[in-house]
């Protein structure tokens, strides 16, 4: 299964390396959202500073929806879905591979956006251990949930509009927990953030297992 996962992850990342959709479109979009938030909230006032963790994670989620849609779209063209079905790759391996590829893209996006909030919003990084752990858990959570829901809507004509409707309510706990953990790391007491990080880890495990189990059914059934 793990060999299949690395194969699929390698393929998805190679497609990204050649097409550069995430690098050339999703990443600039994410930075643009950061700028737009500064327009909406007075950038010199205290509001932006207080809202930075939440805005950061909202931006990550919006960018993640695009990255996930792109990841699902890779499998739609040229009968890739049928090829995957015929290839004797383990469905759980395909799921893990796709989730890993999305996670790798998300990590790059999160680093870029982290740089963005430091430069644009004047955030001071603190509690780096908690920040890194939160990012790691949230990335796995978003990538696995997103890959599962991406497979649910892939091939549909309305996928662009349906994916956020299905995915964002499910990711509400991720937004809550990641924001609280970041708040604890940046302005609060670091120890308060770890339980939220634990919640993220539990969420990540739950949806990774659910996705690995359900992916075969979705692949075979559509």
């Amino acid at each position: 299964m793990w060999r299949d996962a690395t194969l699929v992850a390698g393929r998805d990342l190679r497609v990204e390396l050649r097409s550069r959709v995430t690098a050339n479109q999703v990443a600039p979009f994410a930075l643009l959202v950061l700028v737009l938030f500064a327009f909406a909230l007075d950038p010199d006032g205290p509001v932006l500073e207080r809202a930075t963790p939440g805005l950061y994670w909202i931006t990550v989620l919006f960018a993640a929806v695009l990255a996930i849609a792109r990841s699902a779209a890779i499998d739609e063209a040229d009968g890739v879905r049928d090829a995957l079905r015929l290839s004797a790759l383990h469905p759980s391996g395909v799921f893990v591979g796709k989730a890993l590829a999305v996670a790798a893209e998300l990590v790059a996006l999160e680093l870029l956006l982290g740089l963005g909030v430091v430069v644009l919003y004047g955030a001071e990084p603190a509690g780096v251990g908690l920040l890194a752990a939160t990012c790691a858990c949230a990335t796995v959570a978003v990538a696995s949930t997103g890959t599962l829901y991406g497979a649910l809507v892939s091939g549909l004509r309305v996928r662009e509009t349906l994916l956020p409707l299905l995915l964002l309510p499910v990711l509400a706990p991720v937004l809550i927990a990641a924001t609280r953990a970041f708040e604890a790391a940046l302005v609060g007491v670091v120890a308060d953030g770890w339980p939220w990080c634990g919640l993220l880890a539990a969420f990540a495990v739950l949806y990774s297992v659910a996705g690995a189990l359900a992916y075969g059914t979705l692949l075979e059934g559509s």
Partner: protein, 283 residues
């Protein structure tokens, strides 16, 4: 042959068994039956009793005054909302196991009825919150998680409404439905935790020392709500069932027309019926 086989067999569009005619459609041909008429009348009677008891007989609350009367609808509706979600997840799991169309119809039914009760819960809750809390909406844990749950149900039903190959839709809907209750649990837990860290314990919804006529009214509310829920579930299920039958009859008719066309070539142009569905070979 298929004409006599029960329609519960796996009838997909890729079915290659020759169909000789429209299949017999067992099960109800309309959504009413003597039993459901009795159920419907009982539900109406219970609602009438609830109106009488909730609005006339039971006294106003000491703190909430007349707003407490909304609770006789609100609390049962919230309970039935979760019951409907439970039906959806259970039926989705059963469909993935058994793959019979009845479970698919039940999953859709549960979600749709749950959405009705979700709206009732949110509306009565807001109306109650205005006089009691002074605001229609507050970021209370239960309100917030009910709102997210409503979004989950809307998403599920949006997927169900898509014009897809029925089998593909059933698979996707079943996976989504299976995740519904786990999602609800995760959202509820995390929202509750979120609110409890940021403010004191949430506002008390219902006085725990409810007694006398108010308790009776609440019980009648549960009874009326339960009966309405059951009536809606039965009828919606039958509608879903008939819709599945209609889909299949349409497809079978199209298949039969194309086969007749192939068997008797060039005599006359085939009647232009519905366009043939997928899976019809040009023969």
């Amino acid at each position: 042959m298929t004409a006599t086989s029960p329609a519960r067999t796996h009838g997909g569009t890729t079915d290659t068994t020759p169909h000789t005619g429209p299949p017999a459609a067992p099960g109800p041909e309309h959504t009413g039956s003597p039993a459901t008429r009795v159920l419907g009348l009982a539900a109406l009677a219970a609602v009438a009793l609830l109106v009488l008891y909730g609005l006339v007989v039971s006294p106003p609350d000491r703190e909430m005054a007349d707003a407490v009367r909304l609770m006789y609808v609100h609390v049962p509706a919230a309970t039935l909302l979760y019951t409907g979600c439970f039906f959806t997840t259970l039926a989705s799991a059963m469909w993935l196991w058994k793959r019979t169309p009845g479970w698919d119809a039940l999953a859709e039914t549960g979600a749709e009825v749950a959405l009705v009760f979700a709206v009732v819960t949110l509306v009565t809750g807001s109306l109650w919150g205005r006089p009691t809390w002074g605001t229609y909406w507050t970021w209370d844990a239960r309100l917030t998680s009910t709102a997210v749950l409503t979004a989950l149900l809307v998403g599920y039903l949006a997927l169900r409404r898509l014009d897809l190959d029925p089998d593909a839709r059933s698979v996707r809907a079943a996976v989504l439905g299976l995740l519904l209750v786990p999602n609800v649990v995760v959202v509820n837990r995390s929202v509750e935790w979120w609110r409890s860290l940021h403010q004191g314990s949430t506002l008390v919804r219902l006085d725990p020392q409810i007694e006398g006529d108010m308790l009776v009214a609440l019980m009648i509310g549960f009874l009326a709500g339960g009966l309405v829920f059951a009536w809606l579930m039965v009828h919606r299920f039958r509608v879903a069932w008939l819709a599945q039958q209609a889909d299949r009859i349409d497809l079978d008719a199209a298949l039969a027309a194309r086969r007749a066309e192939a068997a008797a070539p060039a005599e006359r142009p085939a009647p232009a019926g519905r366009p043939a569905g997928e899976g019809v070979s040009p023969a």
